[in-house]
Symmetry: C2
Subunit: 529 residues, 2 copies
Amino acid sequence: MHNTEVFKRLEELAKKPYDLTAPSALLVEDRLRKYSAAGPGLRLSYGTQRIDDEVMDALQRLSDECGVTEQFRTMCTGAVLNKIAGYESENRQVLHTACRDIFTESPLEPIVTADVKQQLANLEIFLTDLGTGKIKNGNGEIFTTMVQVGIGGSDLGPRAICESLKAYALPNRKVHFISNVDPGHAREVLAEVDLSRTLFNIVSKSGSTQETQANEEIVRSYLQNAGLDPALHCVAVTAKGSPMDNKENYLECFYLYDCIGGRYSTTSMVGAVILGFQIGFEAVKDFLRGASEMDRHALNPNINENIPLLMALIGIWNHNFLDYDSVAIIPYSQAMRNFPSHLQQCDMESNGKSIDRNGQSLDVKSGPIVWGGAGTNGQHAYFQLFHQGSAVVPVEFIGFVEEQADISDSLASIDSQTKLNSNLLAQSLALAIGRASNNPNKTVAGNKPNLLLAAKKLTPEIMGTILACYEAKIIFQGFAWNINSFDQEGVSLGKDMASKIISKLVETKQDDDSVEALLVDWFLNKGNC
Amino acid sequence: MHNTEVFKRLEELAKKPYDLTAPSALLVEDRLRKYSAAGPGLRLSYGTQRIDDEVMDALQRLSDECGVTEQFRTMCTGAVLNKIAGYESENRQVLHTACRDIFTESPLEPIVTADVKQQLANLEIFLTDLGTGKIKNGNGEIFTTMVQVGIGGSDLGPRAICESLKAYALPNRKVHFISNVDPGHAREVLAEVDLSRTLFNIVSKSGSTQETQANEEIVRSYLQNAGLDPALHCVAVTAKGSPMDNKENYLECFYLYDCIGGRYSTTSMVGAVILGFQIGFEAVKDFLRGASEMDRHALNPNINENIPLLMALIGIWNHNFLDYDSVAIIPYSQAMRNFPSHLQQCDMESNGKSIDRNGQSLDVKSGPIVWGGAGTNGQHAYFQLFHQGSAVVPVEFIGFVEEQADISDSLASIDSQTKLNSNLLAQSLALAIGRASNNPNKTVAGNKPNLLLAAKKLTPEIMGTILACYEAKIIFQGFAWNINSFDQEGVSLGKDMASKIISKLVETKQDDDSVEALLVDWFLNKGNC
């Protein structure tokens, strides 16, 4: 990538990026209207980035030369893109998009989509039976609570989505999540639920994730101690044929596939079961529809008509050319407070790579550090550094015109949603424009790139659209960097070492001068270390 | 700073930092024992940093030349350190340490500490009265729930502490937090509590924080609609003489001072009232004692005997010399999951600055980007980038030998706490050492600096110690960079712009071609934009 002409062109342009602090910089050439785009239910404003027409032309060329949207199409149609050519690797298709390609007669990859439809049909029956009371607990009562037990992709995405859509929850339905192997996590959640009315949705593709196994053991023991039959309270989401694929131990089993990675599994049964429990099957379909519409939108090779492509390429401009190493995602929505944590996983696990798809060392930086949280809260926390710090952090704002609740209990002349949005728009402009002052302590440098993703209201459908938008953005960047965004080989080392260390933590001290033993002794504050 | 001899010396040393991936790199010269330190209840291991004796000597010199611990002592004794010389600035003392300097006959700053003792005495009476039922609701019932309404420093620190110590909660006591001006936040929390048994602790130093005012209005309206008297359900924590200092509107008023900034206010009444409601007055005193012991420990100018000073200087080594722009804080403790968010504020708002204490532009980078979350969860999310990404992220691990719950309900041959800690220690080593492989996809480069802060158990006292340790670390870095870590002038610009924009959001469109009006029109998807 580093030696291509378009890369050099962008390096040249990066020496003099557009100055957002110049007089009327955001007004010239109808800039705010020009640098905006529309997609399904979603709109993007990016005039507050340090870009101009020359930069955008070069980014379009970069996208074309890397075949970004073409590759996306081959991905959606079932190409084996999760691989490193010439080396042992996972060699899998990448088909999370098939999970929502259910609204057409001609899905891009019909085989997986057909199975997905079957899973959804099973889920609909299951949810109906929970609603009618055909499925009940031992006392003949309906279930009111679902606790998802899973970690990583089986936790972050589903949790973020359920929180975002809590305003749409069915009456008397609550959801919780247990992820961490820290036993305090399970105890905290289990102390809050009525076990007899609770279903546990155990989610692990392999059926052998350490944390999830440990927490399932705790859950089953709590159920048994309460005189309840775990098999009637546990549901499984796992791969066909895994140790968890066993209806003797689970009330129901839902399936996922090798072609769907954990961090892209939110629209599979990994997310659909608990979301369906919370907001009902029809709302899950709305959620999937929103995602599906974004997937179709993302096929468009023209960056002006493709929101995730715009976001991906602007991200590359900021990261590889303007040299900003992180990106902050700030939804001005308390309901979406944990969505940045999901994206942190989805992005950093996908694009935290150092080799290309042929196993060669990369000659450019790959994925940035991704972090964030809800606004306005961030304004009272880390925004000081955005405005006056020595680091530059590009910001991706997400905002909604209307609040979720369909109620008009405005208690003041100006309602809270309006206050929220005034802050959102103000931050976008303040970061870009800055402020001159005779007092250096009041001076704000400006030129902090940011973009604004906006929708009318955070509905299930829009949540699906935003999720799929970010999935596509992340994958587009991986295609541009020519990396495999679908494996995570780096995490195996820590797992291997942990299994060595665990024996040293439980054994009494022997003559062992390995570094593992020395660190264990230091940690336990024993011996001479 | 850039021109000092010691800075140049460190720049020179940074060209060849210690190689953690060399054979036996962590074993030579008894490295793990040598590079460890002990403080009150807390221990630090930093052999997995890219440092050696020469680096540590130079860092000690840097600390001495900047007078880091001397300045800390003058801070604790009441010097006016919150200022920019020669320019309009806050000109205040910095005395959060006085909030916990209550265990000695000779506090470092006796005036504020005397007032703090009076506040604590009032709090003890208040909490006793809540316990005995002398303070009751209108129906003669005791209060079981406290909701803190506050944002920024009035939210993040108190919330992180209350979550961390939930295992020590008094029976039938729950706490919640409302911070965001997003009306969905207040609605979500208010839907979960029994209003008649709930106290609302409204926290705002100025008494006029936009978000907190808006949420207090919502709370009072909910109380009134439920037929309850807001004055009997609301408590205030504010500055003396603020609009909130009015016992006609509040059941009780507790005070804080100009010399305590929001992000350093957790050990003041801002954190003590709700923590006391949750875990009782004596446990709050334990919490304060832990913080006070760390403050005394932090006065030691010898880095080998000062944990926060070690952490501050190693942080500077990583940030200014090895050029790593962020730092991740990863407690292997679900209870501490939100502590990194508090530190994010405390650090980035303190040290996200571009001028020195004389108003001159800095010639070195100031505060890094701070982020993180609980382990093992991070291992299933962003650790892939730590191990194989192109960015290097220094990690600060926090771990506890024992779990919080005093119960032995181990359900497996190896309990979950042991599994948790095996992962903690494994990650520290894996990041440092890496892994060689013939398969480039399995190769892990190593040399990722990390440190490990360890304690026996996460008690109230240790939580206080860890909090004060990080406060001191952040302040030490500010002293070394010669910046004012105690103001936040950069955040005012967004507030000013928000008040301009709010009128445009509520007005019907007029002829207005300001950038604010154009962005509002785009956001509302109206007009020609």
